[in-house]
């Protein structure tokens, strides 16, 4: 029977790229489907009704969601070039560190990128605390970053995103001076052929990250202070806010949007989301080059 492997992903998402990486490391043929995260396909919504997110792996019609779950599934289904060790204790350590990266380190790093001033300082400190932990683990025990690249290295691939984001936002979290061992791992991952293939081009990623956050920031800031003085009534910026609200925290704006979105009369009069988004996208797209 022919194997059918599909991956629903997004080019800018480290979680999605992680799975591409895993499939390539296993030498597997797969069909890649790029998802527009502001206009999710019916297929994605069907295959991941709970979270409605990428990545989703569909193997012979059966969907698997959540990147670490997908990684384990891939490793168990295609047993050559294993990512995870066979020893239960070594496996436990690998799972522990992958979770640490995903649940502790990355959320703090993202927060540092998205926030400003005091909040940013605190987030940077937190992210660096976690890097310190990774640093000593790498130095002493070499759980990951060994000869053959495995489960934790795949999870740690998002370090490459971090370094790009640092440049895009002018934030310093991971530096070679402070965290030599982690930096060395980052270098290995950035230079490794297969990992390189699964990285969006740097300039493209910087532009994407900047647009998503920087371009909208002054407008949202204006909205935020405007709403506090209750100047804004209209709903033309509705989709705009929704788009960015996922990325940064503007609490008053978000609450305002929620009130509108839930109001029965407004709902009747609001354009369908799919109609307003193209307009917003037009606004956010860089001018066409000559």
């Amino acid at each position: 029977m022919a194997e059918e492997v599909k991956l629903f992903g997004a080019w800018g998402s480290p979680y999605s790229r992680r799975i591409e990486l895993a499939l390539k490391l296993k030498g597997l043929q797969f069909e890649y489907i790029e998802e527009d995260l502001y206009n999710k396909s019916p297929a994605l919504l069907k295959y991941n009704p709970v979270h409605k997110k990428v990545p989703v792996l569909v193997h012979n019609g059966k969907p698997v969601a959540e990147s670490l779950v997908i990684l384990e599934y891939i490793d168990e289904t295609w047993k050559h070039n294993p990512f995870l060790p066979t020893d239960p204790y070594e496996k436990a350590k690998a799972r522990f560190w992958a979770r640490f990266i995903d649940e502790k380190f990355w959320p703090a790093a993202k927060k540092a990128m998205a926030s400003r001033e005091r909040e940013r300082e605190e987030a940077i400190e937190e992210a660096q605390q976690h890097l310190k932990t990774l640093e000593s683990e790498l130095k002493e025990k070499k759980i990951f970053g060994r000869e053959s690249l495995g489960f934790v290295d795949i999870a740690a691939h998002l370090l490459v995103w971090l370094v790009v984001a640092q440049e895009a936002f002018g934030v310093e979290i991971l530096t070679e001076e402070k965290f030599p061992a982690v930096h060395e791992l980052y270098r290995r991952l950035a230079d490794e052929a297969v990992f390189k293939e699964c990285m969006p081009p740097k300039e493209q990623l910087i532009a994407y990250l900047k647009e998503a956050i920087e371009e909208t920031r002054p407008h949202l800031k204006a909205l935020e202070s405007g709403l506090k003085e209750r100047k804004f009534v209209g709903g033309e910026s509705l989709g705009f806010v929704e788009l960015a609200a996922n990325v940064i925290k503007f609490p008053t704006v978000h609450e305002w949007y929620q009130r509108f979105a839930d109001d029965a009369v407004f709902k009747e009069c609001a354009p369908p989301r799919s109609d307003s988004l193209p307009i917003i996208k037009l606004y956010l797209e860089p001018p066409a080059s000559k």
Partner: protein
């Protein structure tokens, strides 16, 4: 055979996941109660990263993070398996285990801590959404049976006992046989399994503890 120790806390549903798993597998272990306000050297030494319970110490190996511990136990003592053998079924199980976990952290905790008013309304709404997903998609048509108890049930076990205390502390009952019939039935069945029934913290003590915790 190397000895097994479990560092836990009497009120922690995370620690109980490990207790239930050890009991279901018939593994002998020594339980060590931690005072979380005065953490032992043993805990800090064996879980320097998070400094939390539960921690499983097997011989000279220490494993932290309850879900990581559960998988470690499953793989080290494969008798009485608690995960399916089929890779896809395992992926489904892991998905639901992770779902329960991630929701506990943000939404249920928000529910528990929420102040009356808008904050609570929102938290209740989100909690109900999650219960609905579990009711309709996770439990689905699955008929619970004692033989079929697995890591998904164990990972969601806090819903069967700790959630009640949270509801009481907040002052609102969300889960009953009318609102969530499958979930309710699952809870009743789950609590009847001897390994579970015989290993639950004292109800009154737990309620008091929840109330105290909420006030902080």
């Amino acid at each position: 055979m190397a000895g097994v120790k479990l560092l836990g806390f009497w009120a922690s549903s995370f620690a109980y996941r490990v207790i239930w798993t050890l009991k279901l597998k018939g593994i002998n272990y020594e339980y060590i109660e931690e005072d979380l306000r005065n953490k032992s050297h043993l805990l800090l030494h064996h879980n320097p990263v998070h400094k939390k319970v539960p921690v499983l110490i097997h011989g000279d190996k220490a494993v932290a993070e309850s879900l990581v511990i559960l998988e470690y136990i499953e793989e080290t003592w494969p008798e009485n398996p608690l995960l399916p053998t089929d890779a896809y079924e395992r992926a489904m199980a892991r998905f639901w285990i992770n779902f329960g976990e991630s929701k506990v952290e943000c939404h249920f905790f928000q529910f528990f801590k929420s102040a009356a008013g808008e904050e609570q309304e929102k938290a209740i709404k989100e909690t109900v959404e999650i219960l609905k997903i579990i009711e309709e998609q996770s439990l689905g048509d699955k008929k619970f049976s004692e033989e079929a108890i697995g890591l998904v049930d164990i990972a969601l076990g806090w819903l069967a006992y700790w959630f009640e205390g949270q509801e009481e502390a907040v002052g609102t009952k969300l889960l009953n046989s009318t609102t969530f019939p499958r979930l309710h039935a699952w809870i009743q069945n789950f609590k009847q399994v001897p390994a579970i029934k015989e290993n639950l913290p004292d109800r009154q003590k737990l309620r008091a503890h929840s109330k105290r915790f909420r006030r902080v």
